[in-house]
């Protein structure tokens, strides 16, 4: 995160809510993620006007509307490029990018790789429900190959996308897994992700009770990761590849310097921004 400007008087989590009533289904995991983000912002005493939450399209991507921070409800799959533009124009803001697994790994998958690689100081929270919720239950890139549904009878037969290892392999500086129902743990993880410099990726398992009622079982399956995070990417990769997908907590912390800007808004280090953003 950037120049954290704590509020003079700490705001309560509820005060970070916009007052717009969410239209998520009752029981949707995303309600808890909303709560956890407000708790994190409150604990860090961030002023709402110093935070921007950028999303794409999907049920989860509605989240900026429910927060009092700056919000940008963007284009399907383009949350990351929007967040990147915002961050380079206003590096002083704490930029949180949020959305779903479809938005982030399917239509926007390409951007995910390059955001990890570029390492701008952004926190990316993906509410992973392994389904396209908003368009009524199609398989997403993280759906199990054999998940049977009316739309994909017998399953897609396609190997699921592994967001955490892909993030790691692409250069993300902070990698964590959380569960929406674990309020304290997820809040802490979000705080650490925002604090950590560079691109922080948090996969939040967030059940879609409507199209994946089986995910209600997640509550029983998740557990705190048995070991502390590592700073060694290959150890992190091995752990992620060999766990069952339910170990929660910070899994990797890197020390790659975040992308720095050459312009007056940024630091004084050399930047390749000009050439990278040219087509």
């Amino acid at each position: 995160m950037s120049n954290i400007t704590p509020t003079e008087v700490q705001m309560k989590p509820a005060e970070y809510k916009s007052g717009v009533t969410p239209i998520w289904c009752p029981g949707c995991g995303d309600y808890s993620v909303l709560l956890e983000i407000t708790k994190a912002l409150s604990a860090m005493a961030l002023k709402p006007e110093d935070v921007a939450v950028v999303s794409g399209i999907g049920c989860s991507s509605r989240i900026p509307a429910y927060l009092k921070t700056y919000g940008f409800h963007g284009v399907h799959g383009r949350a990351i490029p929007l967040a990147s533009g915002l961050k380079v124009a206003r590096p002083d803001l704490t930029v949180i990018c949020a959305g779903g697994d479809g938005d982030g790994f399917s239509i926007g998958g390409n951007h995910f790789l390059h955001a990890c690689r570029r390492n701008l100081d952004i926190t990316y929270i993906v509410m992973d429900n392994q389904v396209y919720g908003m368009t009524k239950g199609q398989a997403s890139p993280t759906t199990e190959a054999d998940w049977d549904s009316v739309l994909m009878p017998g399953g897609t037969g396609i190997r699921p996308f592994q967001p955490l290892v892909i993030a790691l392999a692409s250069g993300a500086n902070f990698v964590a897994r959380a569960f929406s129902g674990d309020v304290a743990g997820t809040t802490d993880t979000i705080i650490e992700a925002i604090r950590h410099p560079g691109f922080s990726f948090v996969q939040v398992l967030s059940p879609c009770v409507t199209f994946r009622p089986d995910q209600k079982l997640w509550r029983k399956q998740v557990r705190k990761a048995p070991v502390e995070y590592t700073t060694d990417p290959s150890t992190a990769a091995r752990r992620i590849m060999t766990d069952d997908g339910f170990n929660l907590g910070i899994l990797y912390r890197g020390d790659r310097p975040p992308y720095t800007l050459k312009t007056k808004n940024g630091g004084d280090k050399e930047s390749t921004l000009g050439s990278e953003f040219q087509i």
């Binding site: 284009v75 399917s106 890139p141 994909m152």
Partner: protein, 386 residues
């Protein structure tokens, strides 16, 4: 079950899926988007039940769906896809490509508002914004018309070698349920021959796709595209007549439809779902003794200039209703109609109202109100927000 014609209660989108099923496409790359998704759901259901032998793939975006459609089509395969709004916009780059390589893809687009702001309303700006891509464009007003249009579109696209996009309005047509005559499989098989793509990716032919072209070759390719567009009118009229004979439903010549235009003092011109509403309004006005008619534009690309000129010749006043908006230009149909009638003797006064833009509901009463305004209105080149 498909051996005879059947009458079914279908939503507009399910009628489209039936149309696609009867045409036996082999590959259907589709990415879900509201309000198109029921088309994808229904064809998936058909394939699962073994009633349709298509390979459905759901790639990671519409851009990929169209790329997959092009390549599949270029192997000589019959391809069907469907989308809406943002999905169609994301395809834009490849829409040009699909036409440039002269593929015969048939795509159904459900007209929905485009962002920003976000909305799910019936508005045709999404497809109107693709009018320069080299796709044939057809607009329909009911599930029945959409089903008939899909079947004819395959024949047309494969005959003139141009991709074809059919459009119906979100919800008013896509989700409205009505009785639809579903033709027998046999009748469609008799009407639509097996696909035969001469220039295709086939090791035995040894051709490739997408080479560079120097200016002269490039220009010739564009001219060829234009020539193919010129062939559409004639081909579509023939195809519509042929289909009309088979299905027994009036296809109105397939290009434009005139409704109660005899001796009309005012003709309302529009396309899509608003046509049904205008018809109702016209019946009321005719009962009141007012000489009002409707000209429904079914084929929008190529724009049927000659037929529109014929239809409006000698009509004193024309009112165009647009459910779309091109900032800096106005209603697209209004502006296209103005240029189509340019220089015509006895050209009518033209008025353009942005009536349904943004998806607002336009009732028959509203249409009568619009017609009332014409008496005192001054024709203007600008489209008017009403």
């Amino acid at each position: 079950m498909d051996d005879k014609n059947q009458r079914m209660l279908l939503s507009g989108n399910h009628a489209v899926a039936w149309g696609a099923r009867l045409c036996r496409p082999q590959v259907c790359p589709v990415y879900p988007i509201t309000p198109q998704t029921p088309i994808l759901e229904k064809i998936t259901e058909f394939v699962t039940a073994g009633e349709m032998q298509a390979e459905i793939i759901t790639p990671e975006s519409e851009h990929s769906a169209m790329a997959a459609s092009i390549a599949a089509a270029m192997t000589g395969t019959r391809v069907f896809t469907a989308t809406s709004s943002q999905g169609l916009l994301l395809m834009h780059e490849l829409l040009h490509w699909a036409a440039g390589v002269r593929s015969s893809i048939v795509m159904f687009n459900v007209n929905r508002t485009i962002a920003s702001p976000w909305g799910f309303w019936p508005d045709q700006t999404d497809s109107m914004a693709q009018r320069d891509t080299g796709w044939i464009q057809i607009y329909t007003e009911s599930g029945q018309e959409s089903l008939d249009a899909v079947i004819q579109a395959f024949k047309l696209a494969e005959q003139v070698k141009l991709p074809t996009m059919i459009n119906h309005d979100a919800f008013y047509v896509s989700h409205a349920v009505e009785a639809v005559e579903v033709p027998s499989q046999q009748s469609v098989d008799d009407f639509l021959p097996a696909i035969n793509v001469e220039n295709r990716l086939d090791p035995e032919i040894g051709q490739s796709v997408g080479s560079n072209a120097m200016q002269e070759t490039y220009r010739r390719a564009r001219q060829d595209l234009g020539d193919a567009m010129d062939d559409v009118l004639h081909a579509k009229i023939e195809i519509s007549h042929e289909w009309e004979k088979i299905c027994g439903r009036d296809q109105h010549g397939g290009i434009v439809e005139r409704y109660r235009c005899e001796e009309a003092e005012l003709v309302i011109v529009t396309l899509g779902s608003m046509c049904g509403t205008v018809r109702e309004a016209i019946d009321v006005m005719r009962d009141q003794g007012r000489a009002v008619g409707l000209l429904k534009v079914k084929l929008f690309r190529p724009f049927p200039i000659t037929m529109v000129r014929e239809a409006l010749h000698g009509v004193p006043d024309v009112l165009v209703l647009d459910r779309n908006f091109s900032p800096g230009l106005g209603g697209v149909l209004h502006q296209e109609l103005r240029s189509a009638l340019y220089g015509m003797e006895k050209a009518p006064n033209i008025y353009g109202y942005l009536a349904g833009a943004g998806g607002v509901n336009v009732s028959p009463e509203k249409i009568i109100e619009y017609a009332d305004t014409i008496e005192d209105a001054v024709p203007s080149s600008e489209s008017i927000w009403i």
